[in-house]
Symmetry: C2
Subunit: 112 residues, 2 copies
């Protein structure tokens, strides 16, 4: 059994959930379809359910940050995703936000 409490799990989940969009955009600098994207995220410790991932991909595509196309691979039609030009332009700015946020929190932790 994992050595965590429900409250701890909930706080950890909040933290991870907040970073998922950033993780997805970051992973989609390289073209991937849903299965390999989920595997990339899970391998990094950011497991995400299909029921959460696909709506997020649709939203990010609607927002113009992703582009997708259907292509046949291994005899099956698969939808491949990657950053659009707008996504490529935005990602470094989100990374800057993330790094600023980590500095902010490190400052709070260091304070007393």
């Amino acid at each position: 059994m994992p050595n965590t409490t429900p409250v701890h799990d909930q706080i950890r989940l909040e933290l991870r959930r907040g970073t998922l969009t950033l993780a997805v955009l970051s992973a989609l600098r390289r073209e991937q379809y849903g299965y390999t994207l989920r595997k990339t995220l899970a391998d990094a410790g950011l497991a995400i359910e299909e029921s959460a991932l696909y709506p997020m991909l649709r939203r990010l595509e609607d927002q113009g940050l992703l582009a997708s196309k259907w292509r046949t691979e291994g005899g099956r039609e698969k939808r491949f995703y990657r950053l659009s030009a707008a996504g490529v332009a935005l990602l470094p700015r989100i990374l800057d936000d993330w790094h600023e946020l980590t500095r902010t929190l490190d400052g709070l932790f260091a304070g007393d």
Copy 2:
């Protein structure tokens, strides 16, 4: 006007929202009442509305991570909050989660 787009703002908000519980717990290693807590967070760039902060404080107290007491200061009754013993015990473990998450994301960003 800030140099951001609505989509960018939304992603930034998600990131910040996920860290708010951690920021509040971290700030409440030192006893504070609502006003000074909000100011501590705002000064750190993590502004939070009263309508979001007070329910969060109630939730964290219900979960046993915070203790609060009413005390008169400057002629007014104020509710002061600080970490409970359980909160003091849990905070380092959440900080570990946070640092693990930052390493995970840094790994994703570095990959290609």
